[in-house]
Amino acid sequence: MSGLRSFVARRLLLGALQTVAVVLLVFALTEALPGDAAVALAGDQPDPARIEAIREAMDLDRPAHERLADWAAGLLHGDFGTSLASGRPVGRYISDGLGPTLLLAALTVVLLVPIGFGLGVLAARHAGRLIDRLVSSVTLAVYAIPEFALGVLLVTVLALQLGWLPPTAVGYGTDLLAHPAVLVLPVLVLLSRPVCSLARLVRAGMVDALAAPYTVHARRYGVAGIRVRYAHALPGALAPAAQQLARTIDWLLCGVIVVEALYVIPGLGTVLLNAVAERDVPVVQGLAVVFGVLTVVLNLGADLVAHRFAPRAGVAA
């Protein structure tokens, strides 16, 4: 039992270190600017008033460690600073963009789990036969396709040629749930890569588990096939799959940014891309901290779940 507890403690420590690293890394970004950060950020419009405004807004006259302390203390209270471009608080940007992004992510995860597991179990049940080869090759092929390339092709065929679905979310506002047709293409594109990797992982785990001595033994005792499959073999395939679900967060994040740009959805990804284009550093930093900490926490949770299912599988840390 002490082994389990020390693993949890070590993993929690690593998570805390990763959180600190994310905050430091994001802060270090402005320090890495060559020369005067205010001049560099003013970019195309280097008039003295604007440079002065940026210097003022970011407190660039004060020493770096004081600014870091202030910024980090603000983060703890949910204060992310103010935007350089508009002067609005960064927290407002985040709360505005959160709705559509959460909706996309939630829909994707809700659909991802049954589809991924379903395909994986299906392929494993028919391992080596046509249906398995079909599922395996299609998932292998689709797994590598960048979302933007798949996305534009789906728009071209399903939206423009066939006219079944709207090509973008332009004109539908932020209440996307009221227009489910708008969500079909984005969610489909977001699902493409994670479903493939999850299905392949579940298939591999199930094939191993179904060939393992304990399932053979269960069958010899006359336990029904369906029970062997779902009550005995599937849990064995769960540990790696739980970790994959967390890794998917990284992909979902990449995917969400691309998909929001592609379908013009006003979520966090769009906010981030706009801020990057405008070099609005406080907004970029605020979003980066939110995304980074979210990734750390979800990976932490997944490692703990995976450890619970398979205590001997040496997961990170």
Partner: protein
């Protein structure tokens, strides 16, 4: 028999975009005068793009940046990960191993595209900058795999024998352990190249590391999207080429991995799925 079939399929799928990317610029010829934006026909058999350039010519030029950046980024990632991983696997000083590997564990937490966008918001990375960034994102994971493979090889009796014979550290590290891990690393390099291609193309689509009117398949998809309803070829052709490139490389390396069928590579094939 099935494996060779899959191998051939991979080669066939990746063949077209790869040949276009590597040899295309040689056959592109003169750009010619600019025509009207988003037209079809008129001597342009794939039409014109958003500023009136010939789409076929852009396609011929546009593959090279994607492929070259991806190859350079993969090579760069290994140039750093290889010494890091080998050193931490072979050293007997526990603190050195921790010092080399622990910071990478911490870095693994940052989502790759987020890191690239973060840097892009402050600097304006060119093609070289993009290659460096993508390489940096891949170093933590690559170093972990090198370390794992090298640690396994370093624990073999052969290394003990070399040590007792008084061979130099260099001979053991590079001559034996390095060579013994080559197979695992070749498999990993294939998988990694697919991921790098994905990341390079996606970053270029989002405008990182490329000029806004660059001849680059990913940039073409982005910039010509506004004319999708009028002139779909300017988007569909580069998008299909990118899909063929990434899918083909994944199919090819997966088939190559299966053909080898070693214990090490079968271990890797489950591991790669888990990689972010």
């Amino acid at each position: 028999m099935r494996f060779t079939g899959r191998f051939a399929l991979g080669v066939a799928v990746i063949g077209v975009p790869l040949v276009l990317a590597l040899l295309g610029p040689l056959f592109a010829g003169d750009p010619g005068p600019r025509a009207t934006s988003f037209t079809l026909g008129d001597g342009h058999w794939l039409g014109t793009d958003f500023v009136g350039r010939d789409v076929w010519q852009q396609v011929l030029h546009g593959g090279r940046p994607v492929v070259v950046t991806a190859l350079a980024a993969t090579a760069l990632a290994y140039a750093v990960a290889l010494p890091l991983g080998l050193l931490s696997a072979l050293t007997h000083r526990r603190w050195l191993e921790e010092l080399l590997m622990r910071p990478l564990d911490v870095l693994l937490a940052v989502p790759s595209l987020l890191l690239i966008l973060l840097v892009a918001s402050v600097f304006e990375p060119g093609a070289v900058g993009l290659a460096l960034l993508v390489a940096a994102v891949n170093i933590p994971d690559a170093a972990r795999i090198v370390r794992a493979a090298a640690a396994e090889a370093a624990a073999r009796p052969a290394v003990e024998a070399l040590r007792m014979q008084g061979e130099t550290w260099w001979r053991m590290a590079v001559g034996y352990v390095g060579r013994a891990t080559l197979r695992t690393l070749a498999a990993d390099a294939g998988v990694r190249l697919t991921g790098v291609l994905y990341l390079v193309a996606t970053a270029a689509f989002l405008g990182v590391g490329v000029a806004p009117d660059a001849a680059d398949w990913a940039v073409m998809v982005d910039r010509n999207r506004i004319g999708l309803a009028v002139q779909p070829w300017a988007v569909v052709v580069p998008a299909l080429l990118i899909i063929a490139l990434t899918t083909g490389s994944n199919l090819l390396f997966d088939a190559a991995l299966d053909q080898r069928g070693t214990a090490a590579s079968s271990h890797r094939s489950t591991d790669k799925e888990r990689r972010p």
